[in-house]
Symmetry: C2
Subunit: 112 residues, 2 copies
DNA sequence: TGCTTAATTAACATGTTGTTTTATTAATGA
DNA sequence: TCATTAATAAAACAACATGTTAATTAAGCA
């Protein structure tokens, strides 16, 4: 059933405030390792490791620009979290059914 | 900024397939530790610890019924995950803005 | 070439997680 | 009271996570 090995890595990556802060920063756009490290008191290797964890989980992708290795958000992994969460939405969200119907009809419109 | 200690525990709890499967089972309703343990090959103490992790993270609550300690989902923690996720929704979901407007208007209707 | 900047690797200390087996607590019911 | 069932606690241990400092790779530039 629920044995998707990827979700393990994604949730584990999200279970750290430094890594969530890095993701939050990347919403504003690509950034180098040093740029991402700046707000933290932590050493650069520590941030480098956090970035590796995010990359392995698929939450970010990395590019190349001279010595720089710019990081960018990967929407796919975030969407995976959202999809997992949506499974539970009806438990608390009384508006879920209505929203679900609306989204479905939007999709129908797109496909029609 | 993003220093909510609770999200750490919630995401850490979700980073394990056994614990996610337990949550999935609890959608069907309350269950005792033994009932929850049945589908797994793991020892009972191991499941007991997983349940403790879920409880500490606030993802489940526990009751008392004779020797039984029934577990139930706690929507609040799941909603917390959804709220975090929703921060990123606009990154991939082109329908996010429309949905957001719809939900806001629904809320207005409720409050009016 | 040699210097500087960006980033990773290596080696290490320390703490946490996931699991086991064995022992214990606590409630039920004959 | 004694046996049974439900669940937790305790002790042990391997594996992994998180951070450090020091060393290394790699690109850019004088």
């Amino acid at each position: 059933m629920d044995s998707s090995p990827n979700l393990d890595a994604v949730f584990a990556a999200l279970a750290n405030p430094t890594r969530r802060a890095i993701l939050a920063r990347l919403v504003a756009g690509e950034a180098s390792v040093n740029t991402l490290a700046a707000p933290f008191e932590m050493s650069l290797p520590a941030i480098s490791k956090h970035i590796r964890v995010l990359e392995t989980a698929g939450l970010i992708t990395r590019g190349r620009d001279a010595q720089f290795r710019p990081c960018a958000l990967n929407p796919d992994a975030l969407r995976q979290v959202a999809n997992w969460t949506d499974q539970y939405r009806h438990i608390w969200d009384v508006r879920f059914d209505a929203m679900d119907r609306i989204l479905k009809s939007t999709k129908d419109t797109e496909n029609g």
